[in-house]
Structures are given as structure tokens and as C-alpha cells.
Symmetry: C2
DNA sequence: AAATAAAAAGATATTAAGGTCTTTTTTTTC
DNA sequence: GAAAAAAAAGACCTTAATATCTTTTTATTT
């Protein structure tokens, strides 16, 4: 569904949100460990997100990553679009260059509904939502 | 959503279905041209599908590909599973090794619904359905 | 000011997907 | 039986995604 990079991005943002509630910051090393992601790879991804202000970063000792107030309300949709682009939102499911309401491919109508659901899910779920879920103890970010 | 290979596979099967109604056969060359796919690449994919009897093939002059009677009723789901595997059907959307009803990741519940829709679409749409749609003149496989 | 800790940036390596080219096998037709 | 047409098989190439390693920049602490 999403690229590996995108999975890392989502997990990293969730991790940052979870672990900087008290105004602390977390380092790439921590994030990588906490999300089972390769350190330098996730560093690249955080750089990107940081350029787009989806996460804040401070260099130097005691530096690290944290979220701005609004940062927790970033939706899955924004993360996915940032990392994987909007192909999933706009492209024909068969990869056809020409596929629209006027000239639909044979899968178009059926896929439209699925896509609508998918997009709604991506738009309506934010880092903050996931935060709450994890806090409730009923949801997990486990990898083994 | 699907891999390039999978897109080619779906389009190829549709093309074969559309063009062998009168007991004819179509060659890889024709299929590749007709679906804007690279010839040798689509050949590989058809070989795979052929091994799984999802399409029939005959060598030699006047040979080519065609579908068995039941062949038209193959669903998108079978094609996707054959080419891309069942990752889309079974994997956690965040790529977590541990994610289930008992230990759900924070996206699990929301994604479950989307996935249910997606799978239903894949199961309920067959080559034959697409065939009918294309025949109706209201659907297209256009690439420019 | 020096040492240190952290992210940023850049260079390089690895893997998997996508794609091409060549040879082999099978079948048909003449 | 020779020539030709087609798929099958295999070798190889290219590109993009993934991953790692090294250097640089920035900020902090002592």
C-alpha cells in the first residue's frame, strides 16, 4: 500500500508525538530504535518532513525532534502525499494515462468507491488520534 | 496500488479475452502492442499466468494465447495474488510484524474497513465483467 | 575556546523491480 | 524434412528504492 519510507515516516511521527509530550526532544537514534527502522534512512525521511515543517528539529547537544502544537494534527493523507506523492490519489489503478469519468477504464467505477474510502480514512486520521489510541493501551506499535 | 507487472497482467488478460472470442489466438507481440506494454516483459508475466493455467498458450505457427472456458471468470483477486502475492491482503499497513485483532496497530481498525472494500472489489470483478463493459462501448483501455 | 552532541548533507552500496536481448524448444506448414 | 512462427527459458541490463557510511554544519556545555 505505502512505500517502506512512508511506513517509517508515519511510525517516526507517531513515536515523536508519543515521546515529546513533556517538551522533551528525541534523537534520530532513539526514533530509529523505537520504530525498528534503519537509523540513517529514517534520518533522511525526517529531514524531508522537517523541511516541510511537519516535524521540528534542533541541532546540537540536547537537540532532536519534536512537534509544534499543530504538528499532532497532521493527517495520514499529508504524510503519504509528502513521501509517496499523490499517485495513489490520482492515478488509474491499471496505470492508464487516459482514465477519467468520461473515459473510464473497466475498473474505474469499482475502484472509485474503494479509493473514496481510502482517502477518507487517510484524511480523517491524524497523529494525535493515534497518540490517543496508543495511550489507551488498546493499540500497539509492536514488531516482535 | 498494484505493481507494474500486475497492471500488465490484468490488461493482458483483458486483451486476450477481448480478442479471442471466435476461437482465435493472439501472440505476445499483439498483446504487448494492444496494451502498451514492453513485449518481453509481458511475455514473462504471461508465462507465469500460463503455468498457473490462468491463460492457455500454444507454441508454433498459428499459436498464441487464449482463454479456457472458465478463464474468463478469473477474478482480479486471483491475478493480484498470483503476481503481487498476498501482502496487500494480509500485511499490516504500517509494515508491523505484530498487528492483529488482539494487538492492533493504531491504523488497524480504520484500515480494516478499507481493506474489506478493496478485497470485495477484487473478488467480485472478473475478466468477463470487464469484457462486457468494454463491449458496451462505455469503458476503455486507452493510453493516449 | 574546546569538546561534544546532535541534525544536515553528501557519497556510496545493495537490492528488487522493471525491462531488453539472445537462445532454445515446440509446433506447423510447405 | 526444412523453414518458419511462436512461446519458453535464460542471461543480462537499467533504474529506483532501500540502506549504510562519512563528512559537515550547528548548537550546547564546560
Amino acid at each position: 500500500m505505502f512505500s517502506r519510507s512512508c511506513e517509517y515516516a508515519i511510525k517516526a511521527l507517531i513515536y515523536v508525538a508519543q515521546n515529546t509530550k513533556d517538551g522533551k526532544r528525541v534523537s534520530i537514534k532513539e526514533i530509529a530504535k523505537g520504530t525498528d527502522a534503519p537509523e540513517h534512512f529514517v534520518a533522511k525521511i525526517l529531514q524531508e518532513l522537517s523541511k516541510k515543517k511537519m516535524v521540528m528539529s534542533i541541532k546540537g547537544p540536547n537537540g532532536g525532534f519534536y512537534l509544534e502544537e499543530g504538528g499532532k494534527h497532521v493527517s495520514l493523507e499529508r504524510i503519504v502525499k509528502e513521501i509517496d506523492g499523490d499517485g495513489m490519489f490520482t492515478n488509474c489503478v491499471l496505470g492508464l494515462k487516459v482514465c477519467s469519468e468520461k473515459t473510464p477504464c473497466p475498473v474505474h467505477l469499482e475502484y472509485k468507491e474503494v479509493k473514496k474510502n481510502l482517502i477518507r480514512m487517510l484524511e480523517n486520521n491524524t497523529i494525535s488520534d493515534f497518540n490517543d489510541k496508543l495511550d489507551s493501551g488498546k493499540f500497539f506499535l509492536k514488531n516482535e
